[in-house]
Each structure stands twice: as structure tokens, then as C-alpha cells.
């Protein structure tokens, strides 16, 4: 009898092909056989997908049964006698493969066809049956080719689409021989509701669904890395040949279970774009800076001349040094990037703090979750998420507010949708109805700007329903009586008139959230990007605290982080008021620790934030800037003002991979490395520190960012000698207790470690605040939120509300994604979304240009009908240079977090006349 080292404790003992083997409960015959290294052919079965048992390639003979059974769907029982390779099962397995092969095309579209693999391994001859007439191919989609002639109806794609990603695009239509895979109503893929996540391609065993590009050549090598886009932190594998990425596949990371979205799977080719910066550039003497952004598409480098690295770095450092020495350190500022690694962000802020000598360092966290961070630090002493996305499986109620999850965190959204399919309650609250609302059990489409009214009413309803957690409040919090007093006037009835959600629904949601054994809250920038963003977040935190829905599995607070490393960049101190690990710069003890380590005195005054820095530039206080990987000329509010400020800078050094809008205002442009061209650690929204590995060499003379920062630092007088990312990480560990247990070697081995992780053996804490909050008292503090309006309300001249945000296919300001073939093909032009009835009212047909103006600027985009918008609302993505949404937005700031009000300003809308073509 064979005994297997991995045999589970409560084994089920059965006989497979004459050998007694052990299966664990829940393990199929096929899985048990695989664990013992026995090969049973299978096609419709794929690990991770629900077994369907339709292809019948894995049929086995079970003693005493009349017919054969699929090994993938049958579970061993004690004493069961199974024959997988005898004459009878083998004949059936072979016949199944032969029947399927009969109808396969001659030419293969995939390099690893599982049907061919099994046919070869069973030694199948040429099929003996007449073939069918092959169905036509569908080339309508830019990323995925559909070749149903190679389809074996195994429905792996359907299960991947419907059950894994829960996109529900693929159907199994017709019947009998006419059974076929369809998209929506048997539509061409390119015209269907497909979001091109590519999960179906990854699942297809025969190349019937195949990536259009990247299949022509065989990959030479694979590099495991993570996705460069959003904060979900999907792990992926680059498939490479000759310093080129051929294609990308999802890897089984803890945050993505092999899933990817369209950006992660098809948005990699920006790295090979012809517009990559390949040589340092210096502004020509005869090309003075102008505030208006007037690039010449025929000659994007019109105002610049190529230079050597030596000259460019010298010039860059000279200008910064000169300003520092003449005007003082506070005349300088730096914007780092949440797209760079932890090591880059760490060195960048260290350079500003020690080389520039001030704390004027910030990054786009200011524009996304600054208000969430302020509220979290203030109330519970920690800005990171309390529970990870994967924890939705432990939750009973999931609340999502102000998040277009399916577009902005697509893979995280799949886990939410999975949870709904498991029977969980999903409450979605958003002024805009987006895809995630289609999966919600409850959808509350409240009026824009009334988050606090709605959330306070929910809390008041919790009180009225007597569902507050008295023990939690008594043992874990302070300040509850003030909150309760504050909430009294916020009755569901009174607030219903304000937020537009009926009182009964408010009560129902309050009851569901408060009474469930575990409720978790996710929020996005719909919450944070308001002048009352901090109050919005405070209300959410209060709701979790008053109901005790924090500190346990399936509960807690999860602000969904935007950029791939916005969590990490903030953690390592790329923000003006704190040093690494959120140690305040104005705390002498914290400061002295860093002064000891870094060997010099530090500025005790917190620095300015993103928008404040631009104001200081306008005022003439700041004259020199170093901007790495950020694009304020697109991402800041009130762009006309920002661009004027950038143009007025005495000295601007921009480090980037493309000629961004910001780079147009530069004096020196340093060509940097794209994500796959460097190694570094990145921290996702879940506090998972993951490793991005170098897969390619940078093009031309472009250099690694760590190297560029270090070269500048040396020229600013710092004696730095970091050889590689791991050297920087080692230093970070010394300054940051939260990651002290994470070694570089551990990252290399496991690819992902959750912090806090204090000791090398520590698994990392996936759930925070189980015992206490990291505040001086160990208790959380309630902070009541008053209800205030947006800074700029609609009026007769500007009667519409403008909401800005992102689209699935485009990342941030579009620098990467608009240079990706597939992504650009799917969303090529600026669009503005309005309710179809509103379009009809103002006389614009969908697809026609629409002009949108605010007190600060105007843009023209193509109108798109979107019934998810409320009447009186316009949604504009901010990634399109030719219709930059931030020309319109209001730079009014949340007083606590200094985050601008991207989600609300007053605009006018009328038919546009411009030909945008």
C-alpha cells in the first residue's frame, strides 16, 4: 500500500487502479489521483473553477455502478473501487477525445492545447468520424479573438466569466449540436458587454478564446511580478521574448487568485510605446515656458534638446541647489509618486527632507484618500485598512459607498460579487449607479454631496432601533455621548428629504448593517474627494464603532486605495506631515530618531500639501520643484491655475517615462524606467507588501528611478550608496516597526507579506484592532460630522453638477493607458456621461459633442448616454488631455485633509461644436 506524505488526517481510503490511496474530505477522485501523480485526462475541469463534469474525458469505472462516472465530480467513499485506466474507462476517455478532435480545426491558435496534450498522451490516432462545418471566427474585439471552430463546449470560459469574475457576458446558447458559446445575445464580442478581463482566455483549454496578440512567437522566459495599475495588487506573470512582453497571465496571488482586469492583462504594451522618453532633455533657451498647454503632436519635443545624463543631472541639481542656497529650503518642493516602489518613495522623501531640507513632499494620496487618512488617524490611530478585501468571505453584510468598484478596483469587485453569489448582503450607496449596483441587494442612489446626511441618518436609525453595541462603546471608545447628542436631529425622515433616500430604506440598511454578525465597509473617492471628505469618512468610522463592526473577521473599514502603491508611498513618509510609519515631523522624539539614522537635522515644520504647494508657487514662495512620476498638469484641480503655476517655476525637474503634460513645463526631463523595468516592493490596499520584479531593460538611455534619485541626491550633497532596492528596503525596516519582520529574502520567496509584521517569523496581521486601537488610550474616539454643502453649488448660470473620476480602461491621467493599444482602442476619445433623458432634453444625441463649462474653464467631449447618472449630473473621466476634466474642477479644499473637491462642482452643459476627431 502506498502512503503519501501529504495524506490528510481524516482520510477516505479507496482503491484507484488497484492501489489503496487516501483522499481528504471534499476532494474529488480526480484531485486525489492528481495528488498521487496519476494522470486522468480532463478538459472541462480546471482548478479554481466549479467542476461541471460535462466533457466526460475523465470518466472512470466505479465498481458496482452501471455507467461510468466523471472523476472530477465524484467523491471517493471508503472502500470505493475505482478504475481509471482499465479497458472500459480508457475506451470512453479515448472516444470522448476523438469525438472532440474530429471537429477541431487543422491550424491551432494556441500554443498549449489541452485536447492535443491528452490525445497525444493516450496515443490517439487520426479521428475516424466526419468533421462538422466550422463556425466563423469573430475578430471584432481588439484584445480577444473568438475561434469557436476550436471550441469543445467545456464551459470553462462561461464559469470563469460568470462565477469567477461575475461579469455574466458569456452564455451557453442553443442546444444539441448547435450548443455554442455566445456573448450577450449572440453578439460579436467587440459589441458585447465584455470588459475584456481575459479570464475566459486564461480558462480556455483549446485556444477558442485567445489573446489576439502575443501568440505568434513562443515566450523565452517568464518573470513573476505584480500589476502596475490599481491598489488591488494583482500578481501576474510577464511572458517575454527579446526584451519584449508578449503577453501577461494572472498569477495566484492572495489578492487576485489568478484574476486580472483589462488593464492588468492587456495594458502592458505602453512600455514599448514609441513615445517613451529615451534620452535626457533640456529646455531650449529659445523656448520660454507658457502657461497654455499647446503641445505640437508632430514634434512633442519642440521646446527641448537632447542632453547627456551628466549635463542633465548637473543642470537639474544646480538649479535646485541654487534655490535652496539662495531662497532657503522651503522654496523647494517635491512630488513623488504612488506608482513608484516603496524604495523609490522612501528615497524620494528622504532626498526632500535631507537634501532639500524641508518637508514639502507630497503625492497623489492628497488627491485620493487624504481625507480618509486624516479621519482614520484621528479616530482610530491608524490609516491603513482594518480588514483585507478577501475578508468579504467572512462578512455577512458588505457596504460599499462612493466606489465604482467594478471599474476602479475590478478584481476586488469580483470578490464582492462572489460574496453576493454566496448569499451575502451587498449594500451599495452612490449618487451614480455603476455596475456594482447591479449586484447589490440594496442600492441607495443618494443626491451628490449628501453623504453625511445619509450616514448620520443611518446612525440615528441604528440608535432608534437600539442596535448600538453598548459593550464595544463602553470598552473600546470615547466620546459616544457627544455623537449621540449630535445625531438627534438627523432622523431618517428629516434626512430623507435631504439625501433623497426614503426613511424606510435608511432604517433597513441600518438594521442590516448593525444587526449582522459581521459587516464590512468599503469606500472610494466618492466619499473622500469632497470639502467634507474627512467628515464623510468620520461618519463611516463612527458607524463601524457604534455597532462594534470592527476588530473581527468580516468587519472593519476598507478605504479602497487607488494607485498600486499609494498605501506604501504613504507608509514610507511621502507626505508632508509625517516621516516613515506615520511618525509626525513635529514630534521631537520621532524626529530625533530619524536624525540619528540619517545623520542630519530635520525640518520640524510640516510641509505643504499638493494644492498648497501650487498656491505657494503662484505666490512665489516655492520656486523649484522635483516631480517624479506625477502629472499635476492633469491631475490637480483647476488646471489653468496649476499650469500657470508650473510655468512660473524658476526650476522644474521632471522624471518620467513619457512626455507628460507636466513635463511640458520642465527645465530638465529625466527619462525613467517603467514598472516592468525595475525591481521593488509595492504595498496594496490590503497592506500586502509584494514584489515587482524587473522583466525588461529600460529603453535607450532611460535609467532606473532609484539610480536617478540617488544621482540627484549626490549632487545635492548627500553621500548615498544604495546598490539596489534591497539595500533601501533594509534601511526602511530599521525606521519602520510595522515592516520589521519582512525581510527582502522573504519577499523574494513568498512574493507577498502582510504588515504589521514585527518579527521575521510573524505571519502578518490581516485583521487589525482586535484588542485595542493604536491610540495613546488604546481607545477609538468618536468625532461627530456636521452636514455641510459642497463649496460650489449649482445656480442659474452653472446648473449642473460635475462628477469626475476614472474609467475601467484608463489609468489616472492616461499617460500609460492611452498608450496601450487595446485600452486606447476600447476607449479612444474623451466622453461625458449624462442621463439619456437629459441628453434628449438639451438636444444632444449620444455620440455628439457636448460642451461643459465651469467658472474655471471649459471642455468639449463626446456625449454618452448613461442611465446610471441622475438628472442634472455630468460625469467626466479625467484621463483625456484634449478634454481635461480638471480644467473645470474646483480647488476648494477639505480643511482637515487638504483634499480638493473633485466630486462636485457647478457646470453648464450645452451642445458642442468642436470636431474632436
Amino acid at each position: 500500500m502506498a502512503s503519501h506524505p501529504d495524506s490528510p488526517p481524516r482520510a477516505i481510503r479507496f482503491t484507484l487502479d488497484g492501489e489503496t490511496i487516501d483522499a481528504s474530505p471534499g476532494e474529488s477522485i480526480l484531485q486525489a489521483a492528481q495528488r498521487y501523480g496519476r494522470e486522468i485526462p480532463h478538459l472541462c475541469y480546471q482548478e479554481g473553477l466549479r467542476a461541471d463534469g460535462n466533457c466526460r474525458a475523465c470518466v472512470v469505472e466505479i465498481e458496482g455502478e452501471r455507467t461510468l462516472s466523471p472523476a472530477c465530480c465524484r467523491f471517493p467513499a471508503d472502500g470505493m473501487v475505482v478504475d481509471s485506466a482499465g479497458e472500459r474507462p480508457r475506451r470512453a476517455q479515448k472516444m470522448v477525445l476523438e469525438l472532440l478532435r474530429t471537429d477541431m480545426p487543422e491550424s491551432q491558435s494556441s500554443r498549449d492545447n489541452e485536447l492535443d496534450h491528452w490525445s497525444a498522451s493516450l496515443g490517439l490516432p487520426k479521428p475516424r468520424f466526419p468533421a462538422r462545418r466550422p463556425p466563423a471566427a469573430d475578430h471584432s474585439h481588439p484584445a480577444i479573438t473568438v475561434r469557436l471552430e476550436a471550441c469543445i463546449q467545456c464551459t470553462r470560459c462561461l464559469r470563469a466569466c460568470r462565477e469567477i469574475q461575475v461579469n455574466q457576458v458569456i452564455g451557453n446558447a442553443g442546444r444539441g449540436a448547435k450548443t455554442r458559446i455566445v456573448f450577450d445575445l449572440d453578439d460579436p464580442l467587440g459589441e458585447s458587454s465584455c470588459v475584456a478581463c481575459g479570464e475566459c482566455v486564461q480558462a480556455c483549454p483549446t485556444g477558442a478564446l485567445v489573446s489576439t496578440r502575443g501568440q505568434e512567437e513562443e515566450a523565452e522566459r517568464q518573470v513573476d511580478s505584480v500589476c502596475p495599475y490599481c491598489g488591488v495588487g494583482c500578481q501576474l506573470t510577464y511572458h517575454l521574448r527579446d526584451n519584449r512582453i508578449l503577453f501577461v497571465t494572472g498569477r495566484d496571488g492572495p489578492a487576485n487568485n489568478s484574476r486580472l482586469c483589462v488593464k492588468g492583462r492587456y495594458g502592458f504594451d505602453y512600455v514599448h510605446h514609441r513615445q517613451r522618453l529615451k534620452t535626457p532633455l533640456i529646455r531650449r533657451k529659445d523656448a520660454p515656458k507658457r502657461a497654455a498647454l499647446e503641445p505640437d503632436p508632430a514634434d512633442p519635443f519642440r521646446d527641448f534638446r537632447p542632453a547627456s545624463w551628466e549635463e542633465a543631472l548637473g543642470l537639474a541639481a544646480d538649479g535646485l541647489r541654487r534655490i535652496r542656497n539662495q531662497q532657503g529650503p522651503s522654496a523647494l518642493a517635491g512630488f513623488g509618486s504612488a506608482k513608484g516602489s516603496n524604495e523609490e518613495a522612501y528615497l524620494f522623501q528622504k532626498l526632500i527632507r535631507t537634501g532639500f531640507g524641508c518637508n514639502n513632499v507630497d503625492h497623489c494620496t492628497r488627491l485620493c484618500h487624504a481625507s480618509s487618512v486624516v479621519a482614520l488617524l484621528e479616530m482610530i490611530g491608524s490609516a491603513a485598512v482594518s480588514n483585507q478585501v478577501a475578508d468579504v468571505h467572512a462578512a455577512e453584510v458588505i457596504m460599499v459607498i462612493g466606489s465604482n468598484t467594478t471599474e476602479n478596483h475590478p478584481v476586488a469587485a469580483t470578490f464582492l460579487k462572489n460574496a453576493v453569489n454566496e448569499g451575502k448582503t451587498l449594500i451599495v450607496m452612490d449618487p451614480r449607479r455603476t455596475q456594482i449596483a447591479n449586484h447589490a441587494t440594496h442600492f441607495l442612489q443618494f443626491r451628490p454631496d449628501t453623504d453625511v446626511a445619509l450616514l448620520n441618518a443611518i446612525m440615528q436609525a441604528v440608535i432608534e432601533l437600539n442596535l448600538v453595541d453598548r459593550d464595544f462603546i463602553a470598552n473600546r471608545t470615547t466620546g459616544y455621548p457627544e455623537l449621540e447628542r449630535h445625531l438627534q436631529p438627523f432622523t431618517p425622515e428629516a434626512m430623507s428629504a435631504v439625501c433623497g433616500v426614503d426613511a424606510a430604506t435608511i432604517r433597513e440598511v441600518a438594521r442590516l448593517y448593525a444587526a449582522s454578525p459581521a459587516s464590512i465597509i468599503f469606500w472610494g473617492m466618492g466619499v473622500s474627494q469632497h470639502v467634507h471628505g474627512t467628515d464623510n469618512a468620520r461618519a463611516l468610522i463612527s458607524l463601524a464603532l457604534m455597532t462594534g463592526q470592527i476588530g473581527r473577521p468580516g468587519t472593519g473599514l476598507h478605504p479602497l486605495r487607488g494607485q498600486n502603491n499609494v498605501q506604501g508611498a504613504s507608509d514610507v513618509g511621502l507626505i508632508p506631515m509625517v516621516l516613515p510609519d506615520y511618525q509626525p515631523v513635529d514630534d521631537p522624539k520621532a524626529r530625533s530618531r530619524f536624525e540619528a539614522l540619517w545623520g542630519q537635522k530635520l525640518d520640524p515644520v510640516p510641509g505643504l500639501t499638493v494644492v498648497e504647494i501650487m498656491h505657494a508657487v503662484t505666490d512665489g514662495h516655492i520656486q523649484g520643484m522635483y516631480i517624479m512620476g506625477e502629472n499635476p498638469a492633469m491631475s490637480d484641480p483647476d488646471l489653468n491655475h496649476t499650469r500657470k503655476a508650473l510655468a512660473s517655476l524658476d526650476h522644474l525637474v521632471v522624471q518620467d517615462i513619457f512626455m507628460t503634460e507636466t513635463a511640458y513645463y520642465a527645465d530638465v526631463i529625466l527619462p525613467a524606467s517603467a514598472f516592468p523595468e525595475k525591481t521593488g516592493s509595492f504595498t496594496n490596499t490590503d497592506r500586502r507588501v509584494q514584489l515587482g520584479r524587473k522583466a525588461l531593460d529600460p529603453p535607450g538611455e532611460a535609467r532606473q528611478d532609484l539610480d536617478i534619485i540617488q544621482q540627484l541626491a549626490r549632487r545635492m550633497g548627500l553621500d548615498w550608496h544604495y546598490r539596489q532596492a534591497s539595500d533601501v528596503f533594509a534601511e526602511m525596516r530599521q525606521t519602520m516597526p510595522s515592516i520589521r519582520g519582512i525581510t527582502w529574502e522573504r519577499l523574494e520567496q513568498t512574493g507577498s507579506v502582510t504588515y504589521p509584521c514585527h518579527n521575521p517569523g510573524d505571519p502578518g496581521q490581516s485583521i487589525l484592532f482586535t484588542e485595542a486601537f493604536p491610540t495613546p488610550s488604546g481607545r477609538a474616539k468618536f468625532t461627530p460630522s456636521p452636514f455641510i454643502n459642497a463649496d460650489e453649488l449649482p445656480d442659474d448660470d452653472y446648473p449642473w453638477v460635475l462628477i469626475t473620476g476614472r474609467q475601467l480602461e484608463h489609468w489616472h491621467t492616461g499617460a500609460m493607458t492611452r498608450r496601450s493599444r487595446v485600452l486606447d482602442h476600447i476607449e479612444p476619445l474623451p466622453v461625458a456621461m449624462l442621463h439619456p433623458d437629459e441628453l434628449a432634453r438639451i438636444g444632444i444625441r449620444p455620440g455628439e459633442p457636448v460642451r461643459i463649462g465651469s467658472r474655471r474653464g471649459e471642455v468639449t467631449a463626446y456625449a454618452r448616454a448613461d442611465p446610471g447618472l441622475q438628472r442634472g449630473q455630468v460625469f467626466l473621466p479625467f484621463c483625456y488631455r484634449e478634454a481635461a476634466a480638471n480644467l473645470l474642477t474646483n480647488a476648494a479644499l477639505d480643511p482637515a485633509a487638504k483634499i480638493p473637491e473633485f466630486k462636485f462642482c457647478a457646470v453648464m452643459v450645452e451642445p458642442g461644436a468642436l470636431d474632436l476627431g
Binding site: M95, T102, R175
Partner: protein
């Protein structure tokens, strides 16, 4: 290559990805659905409402229905495209003619001249009518059969059908039958009341009423009459041991070509069946009953709706909810788990077993599934005692069987005959002998799936289990009699084409196997070795009975009629 921006403009979307529900279609769907629940299990019912109104399902309607029901368009489309009775209209397609004329081309109707009828009708049909070939509509005793709209005509002639079309006689004609009042006046539902009130008298007065009913069924030897023949009493006992709530699903998807007994009994006495349903529900402890009726039986649907309303309006005793669900043209939905899927509003694709439906059936609940006829006999068995039933039978077999007999005999119809009767006895004693000029050549003992036997095996007792040694089974006891004018090969090919069209498409041996078998069978000389290999694997590895039994007629031709397919006469 066009300029990039031009290409981009062409690609510009004007709304969300995919199709959006248009307001007009949405308001029409809302009006059609009224206050009906939007639960996904009602999808097929809702599709019927649209199809009934328009005669087709347009893309805009499907998208609107999907939105209204909270489903994706793909989920609606895949269900709609599974069932023959839904006519899907693509964006650029014209609506079908207003009237559909269905002509059955299954075996019995073929024997009776369906092909020449189709040819005659095709040349004579005018505007506004389309002809569809359909499989068995359950009226093989009236072959050849056509259905004008919902009005079945048989035996049909081209002129007769045209007259009905001219008169727009498209409504089903309801049979004469004892209605609710008549049934109750004759003592109906008394037994149900007595069982509910624990007042029945049998040999074992100490037992509960439920136990007494089950004992009676046990002694009678009643087995499931849908074809599988599972012992009824045993099924009830298994279900009673399952956790509540338990559900019941009644199978009236009588689609096996040659079978029409369920229709026969329903038209005769619908309440005898309904009382059987309610007795079963009462004894087994059923929370809700679902009756699944094939869409072809439009007349019976109207009758059952009427009688169920009468029953609910003036119930003889407390009743569980009884839902009448409508099939949509799919043979495989007669398979119990496919029927359950269909009741759940899905494609009628059989499930893998285990788990068995008795444990995990409709809506994930333990489910008692019965063929209609099984329930029809319950009242008689309890009232008249098990011996009345058990003591019938011939050649060592026990009980009565309702044979649906069609083909080359004088008296086609449902004949209640002793189990174990031979084909020769059945034809002579019950069917008035062979038709003039026809001599017995062979017969299909169990519809399209039960195989084909030669005249030399006409003395084998017909019952459950007696035909297995010959590679056949009795199934639903649908006997089609062939004469020397007929070809077993043609009958087998007709059957295999039927299976290929009716396969749900889920598993490879059936989906691909039936199509390849048809191609092989179309050859004048059959490839015996390959066919036998294919047959064995279809029987061994298909998910459900459809694929497992599909090779039976082909195998029987090879065994008993080899001379028809280029092989020697068997020794």
C-alpha cells in the same frame, strides 16, 4: 491603415458597453409582466408571455426582460435559445409569419405519411403561415398529426389543415371530462380528506394514514410509470426521511415519441390525477407542488388551470400551493433533473448524480418527482386495495400497464393491458390486429429510445426488466408497430436525428456522439465496429438517459436487421 483618430471615431460608444434596455421595450415588458414576481425561476413563464403576445422574442425585449428580472442578457438568451417554442428574432430579422403550423415528423407520423403531408402542405400554404417540422406532439394514435397554432389536427390531410387555417381555428379544443364539481359529486377528494384526517381503513388499522397508504402502494408493487420504474412506496419513504421543506415536481413532459398515455388519462379524468398529487403531498409532507406540463398540451394546460382554480376556490381540505409550469418544447426536460432545471427557469440540462433529486432537487430541496400516470393510480389503488392491481399480469408479471400503441395496427390508442403481455397478444387482443395488408416486421417497445425488436421477438413479455436481455427497454410503454412496408433503419435514423436535435448539448458523448451517429447511419453500409464502439461509450459515459439510450435503435438494427444496412442476416 486609416488615421488612428478616424478609426477611433468609428469605435466610439454612445452608451454603456453592450446592449441597454430601451425605455419602450422596458415599459412593454413591465406591462406584460404586471405584478408577477420577477424571480429567476419564472424566466420561462415570462418568456412565454412575450412569445404569446408577439409570436417571437425580439432582442430589445430580451434585454428589457433581463433588466427587469435582474439577470444578464446572456442568462436570458441562453435559456430562450434552448427551447424550440421560443422564436428568437435578431436585430435585422423580420418577424415570423403570424401563424405557425407544426407538423410532427417522428416515427409514428412518418409511418402514416408525414413526409408527403409536409410536401403537400408546403406547396399549398399561403402568406402568413409557416410550417415547422416538430418532434412527437403526443397524438400518435391520430397520425399524421399537425398543430395549427395550438389546435391539434389528426389524422391530418392537406385540405383539412388548410380549412382550419382559413378559419383561423388555432385554439385548442378542450375534451369532455368530469370537472371539479362532477368529480367531487362522485366521491372525489373524499380519500384525500380521510387521509388528512387520519381516517382510512386498511389491513393495518394501527398505522398512521400515511403509513397505510405507503403500505398499500408497497403491496401493489406500483412503480414509476415514466419509464424508470422506481418503486413508488420506496421513493415516498426516502423522501419522508429527508429534511423539510420538501418539494414535489410532477412530470407531464410526455415527449418520448410514441407516448401519449399521460394526455389520455388527463383528458379522461384530471382530478383523479390531482387527487393523487395531493395524496402524495399529504403522505410525504410536501410544502409546495410544481406540475411541469409540456407546452404542446395547450388544451390540457387550459383545463388544468381551470380545474386548479376550481380546486383552490373551494378546497376539499387544506392544500399546499400547486404551481402549474409550462415547458417550452424540449424532449430532454422529461428527464427528471432537466425538468427541475427547467422549473427553476434554466436551460433544461440534466444534472449529474449524485446527488439525487430526492436529496437535492428543486431549489436545492429534497424533491419527490413523479410521472403523471403514477399519481393517477394512487386513489384507485388505495380505494380498491393492492390486489386489484397486483393480481393482473401475464407470463409471471404483475400489474397493469397503459400501452400507447401506434403504427401499423387497426386500433391505435392507449390500451390498459396486463403487464407481461407479449407484443403479439397486445396487437391481437387489444389493437384489433395488424392493418390490412401489413404483416408484423418489428416493433419499438419503448418509443424512440427503447430499441427496435424484430417480429421474431414478438412473444417476449413486455414489462420492466424483461427486455434488457435484448438490448431494449419498455420505458413509458410506447409501442410502435412496424410492418413489412417499413424499414427499421429508417426508424432508427429518425430516432437518432431526434436525439441529435433534442440533446441538451452538455456532455460530449451525447452532443457530438448523436450527430456523428446520424452521419454514420446515413451511409448505405454501416460501419459496425465504429458504431458499436461509439454506442458503448455513449451508453457508458453520457450524463443522462437520453445519451445513454440514444444508441439503442442503432444497435438493434445492427443486431436484428443487419440486412438493411449492408450486413448479413443474423444467424
Amino acid at each position: 491603415m486609416p488615421h488612428q483618430d478616424q478609426a477611433a471615431v468609428r469605435n466610439q460608444r454612445i452608451g454603456p458597453k453592450g446592449r441597454s434596455a430601451c425605455p419602450e421595450a422596458l415599459s412593454e415588458i413591465r406591462q406584460l409582466l404586471g405584478d408577477a414576481a420577477r424571480r429567476p425561476d419564472l424566466l420561462i413563464e415570462h418568456l412565454h408571455r412575450i412569445q404569446d403576445r408577439h409570436g417571437y422574442l425580439a432582442a430589445a425585449q430580451l434585454v428589457a426582460l433581463a433588466e427587469e428580472m435582474g439577470l444578464s442578457p446572456a442568462e436570458v438568451y441562453e435559456v430562450a435559445s434552448f427551447y424550440h417554442h421560443f422564436h428568437l428574432l435578431k436585430d435585422d430579422q423580420d418577424p415570423p409569419p403570424e401563424l405557425t403550423l407544426r407538423v410532427c415528423d417522428s416515427i409514428s407520423c412518418s409511418l402514416a405519411g408525414a413526409e408527403s403531408l409536409i410536401a403537400n402542405l408546403k406547396s399549398a400554404l399561403g402568406e402568413g403561415v409557416r410550417l415547422q417540422r416538430v418532434p412527437c406532439v403526443g397524438r400518435c394514435d391520430q397520425a399524421p398529426v399537425t398543430v395549427v397554432g395550438n389546435n391539434p389536427i389528426g389524422p391530418a390531410t392537406a385540405t383539412g389543415v388548410q380549412a382550419q387555417i382559413r378559419n383561423r381555428a388555432v385554439a385548442p379544443v378542450l375534451p369532455e371530462y368530469p370537472d371539479y364539481d362532477a368529480y367531487r359529486a362522485a366521491g372525489g377528494y373524499q380519500l384525500l380528506r380521510r387521509i388528512q384526517q387520519q381516517r382510512i381503513q386498511t389491513d393495518d388499522p394501527g398505522a398512521t394514514a400515511a403509513e397505510q397508504v405507503i403500505q398499500t402502494l408497497e403491496e401493489s408493487g406500483l412503480r414509476g410509470l415514466g419509464g424508470a420504474g422506481f418503486a413508488t412506496a420506496r421513493k415516498w419513504r426516502i423522501l419522508r426521511s429527508q429534511p423539510s421543506p420538501r418539494l414535489m415536481a410532477v412530470n407531464i413532459d410526455e415527449g418520448e415519441p410514441g407516448t401519449f398515455k399521460d394526455r389520455h388519462f388527463l383528458e379522461q379524468d384530471p382530478h383523479r390525477f390531482l387527487e393523487g398529487v395531493l395524496i402524495a403531498a399529504s403522505v410525504v409532507g410536501i410544502a409546495e407542488v410544481y406540475i411541469y406540463l409540456r407546452d404542446e398540451y395547450a388544451g390540457i394546460r387550459a383545463m388544468l388551470e381551470q380545474e386548479l382554480t376550481a380546486l383552490r376556490t373551494d378546497p376539499p381540505c387544506p392544500l399546499p400551493p400547486v404551481h402549474l409550469r409550462r415547458g417550452a418544447g424540449s424532449y430532454v426536460c422529461g428527464e427528471e433533473s432537466a425538468m427541475i432545471e427547467s422549473i427553476e427557469g434554466k436551460r433544461g440540462m440534466p444534472r449529474l448524480r449524485p446527488p439525487y433529486v430526492a436529496e437535492l432537487g428543486l431549489f436545492g430541496r429534497p424533491t419527490l418527482v413523479h410521472n403523471m400516470e403514477t399519481l393517477y393510480w394512487i386513489r384507485d389503488l388505495v380505494e380498491w386495495g393492492p390486489c386489484w392491481f397486483k393480481d393482473q399480469g401475464r407470463h409471471g408479471r404483475q400489474g397493469l400497464r397503459a400501452f400507447s400503441v401506434s403504427g401499423r395496427i387497426r386500433l391505435p390508442g392507449v390500451h390498459l393491458a396486463p403487464a407481461g403481455i407479449t407484443l403479439r397478444e397486445l396487437v391481437e387482443e387489444f389493437c384489433g390486429g395488424m392493418l390490412e395488408g401489413h404483416q408484423l416486421y418489428g416493433y419499438l417497445p419503448g418509443g424512440a429510445s427503447g430499441g427496435i425488436l424484430p417480429a421474431s421477438l414478438a412473444d417476449v413479455p413486455l414489462d420492466f426488466d424483461t427486455l434488457q436481455p435484448y438490448g431494449c427497454f419498455l420505458g413509458s410503454a410506447a409501442i410502435i408497430v412496424l410492418s413489412q412496408q417499413d424499414s427499421a433503419r429508417e426508424a432508427a435514423l429518425n430516432a437518432m436525428r431526434f436525439f441529435a436535435r433534442e440533446s441538451c448539448g452538455r456532455c460530449t458523448p451525447c452532443r457530438v456522439g448523436t450527430v456523428k451517429a446520424v452521419q454514420l447511419m446515413e451511409q448505405p453500409n454501416w460501419n459496425r465496429a465504429l458504431m458499436e464502439e461509439l454506442s458503448e461509450v455513449m451508453a457508458d459515459a453520457s450524463i443522462c438517459g437520453l445519451g445513454q439510450a440514444a444508441p439503442n435503435p442503432m444497435r438493434c438494427v445492427l443486431s436484428y436487421f443487419p440486412q438493411e444496412v449492408g450486413h448479413g442476416i443474423p444467424s
